[in-house]
Symmetry: C2
Subunit: 371 residues, 2 copies
Amino acid sequence: MTDFTQQDFRCMARALQLARRGEFTARPNPMVGCVLAVGEEIIGEGWHAEAGGPHAEAAALLAAADRARGATAYVTLEPCAHTGRTGPCADALIRAGVKRVVAAVQDPFPAVAGQGFAKLRAAGMAVDVGLMQDAARDLNRGFLSRIERGRPFVRLKMASSIDGATAMTDGTSQWITGAAARHDVQRLRALSGAVLTGAGTARADDPQLTVRDTFPGGRQPLRVLLDSRLTVEQRARMLQDGTATLVFCVDDSDRERFAATNAEIVKVAAKDGRPSLPAVLEELASRQVNDLLVEAGPTLAGSLLMADLVDELVIYQAAHIMGSQTRGLVVTPDWTELLDRLPLRITDRRVVGSDFRITAEPAARPAHTGN
Amino acid sequence: MTDFTQQDFRCMARALQLARRGEFTARPNPMVGCVLAVGEEIIGEGWHAEAGGPHAEAAALLAAADRARGATAYVTLEPCAHTGRTGPCADALIRAGVKRVVAAVQDPFPAVAGQGFAKLRAAGMAVDVGLMQDAARDLNRGFLSRIERGRPFVRLKMASSIDGATAMTDGTSQWITGAAARHDVQRLRALSGAVLTGAGTARADDPQLTVRDTFPGGRQPLRVLLDSRLTVEQRARMLQDGTATLVFCVDDSDRERFAATNAEIVKVAAKDGRPSLPAVLEELASRQVNDLLVEAGPTLAGSLLMADLVDELVIYQAAHIMGSQTRGLVVTPDWTELLDRLPLRITDRRVVGSDFRITAEPAARPAHTGN
């Protein structure tokens, strides 16, 4: 393991900060930041703003111009070695006379995957890998999930009262949470390549699942609906606004009904009469979805949790007690013992307007001792 | 309204801090603190440690000795004018030659209720009332509730997962929360004159409801059980440990069964076949209970909430999702619309060990618009 200097940490921290600027725009590409430094001085900065645009290294080299000779380049991800929509960054760094490259993580993307580092080393450059790699992996956990696991990073958004209720028994739920929490959900949508919901929510709420608030450079996520038997109405808002919505089913005999809508019907393998969740996630990864936001009812939310397919939970908790004439957060028939409960590792807690937001990751269950 | 000086605020803040030292011991008396000051200098401090012991003023006068002449006395509650277990503090202040008294609040206790102030003024003393009165009232909300409303301050303690579950469907609930939260509940018990539970919890958990952890000078709260038809077993731990437990019922025909236990059976008015909750609270106030801690199941908790008899909720939230094969926090059949939910004013949120504690007060419901 290389001994990194304080200057190395300072420059990589800055590169990570720059990378984050692409959070609403870089997808399906990873967010990448680059800092060029000579001694204590930063002589060029860059980040990857959008697919087809300059990579972070190219932007930093452009800023540094002819001062890059002899510099150290700090990159949050391995420089590419292949010609994609832009030329290989490894070649550009070599051409500019950079003498050392410090990278946070190797790019798992098959066309890179160590070949960028190999090319740099072959040109005589010093290459140090692994500086602040946890932060760098966290930044691109969606992209890394798609490449490494073949499925998007799955974020489950939920909203409830303090006693875990999401609606009254009659279904009334507007609004459990306040305006600030709803705006925060818009931000989560804008960060995501796709937003997933189920047929029950589509029927009950007729949601648009679009980003209505403005985020700099933000694009609309792909809308995804799970509807086993294509029961959703043609006039549903998410099928009528001219932008594609992906509809997963297990029985597409009613497919023709959706010819005049913007639905793209995809039939997938069934599990218990419903779309196989791993198959759905695999299909979304093949469509370059890095981050999937799930905004679903308790049945689909529970199914994802029981199948261990949720990577992060974002729970908005309203300061209310709603009582027992209500519906709960999740439907989890398989969890019958206290040991079945899902332990969470809380990663963030904060006030969002009148509500409280809890961000958490599923943690390992204690081993069942058996009976 | 008197214009209080910075010195006035400084001394009253100190008096409030001193008063708090009696939190585990002063009951059923109020917590009171007293500071004697001459100019910038504090020449005596006192607080009321326990019933029968010196009042705060007497303790401060003792500390100041003959320097009290011409001093200002800061007291968090009106000095008493009557002879109780100790002589009247108003007389002691006059005798010591104190020239000004600043009090946070008037004592609503009928034997005081302005007579202390009147006596001081009659002796030619300057008396200013109302400095930091919100903090002073908050400190003694239990005592003030008992005197002003004729019922204890009611604190409802609950523990659940993040999705609001308190037990699996089969009743398994040990333990939802961790050791630090359970210790914190011991502290709440030690702060309370009584701890209330219901027959269901008594049957299911056979709790002792005693303070087992050590708090300085702490005493055991009175245990209170609501058991409409006296169905609890004689061998229940809270009836067999030699310390009195109050059992409220509406049908005491089985009273004889408890002759050999430490139960004191009290028959009260019924409402819907159960002990009338206002009647129970009134009886507890008559027994000088200032603060009542409720550690009950979802039915009794829900009944108290529906009856608007809860003053504070303390909710320990464990970092788990327990799912739908579970029991909820409260049973509230009367709340059928979203407008029926109980809005909370959050007064504190903090991590307690592995859990999260939310402290809140019921807030006003938005007015129903009617249908």
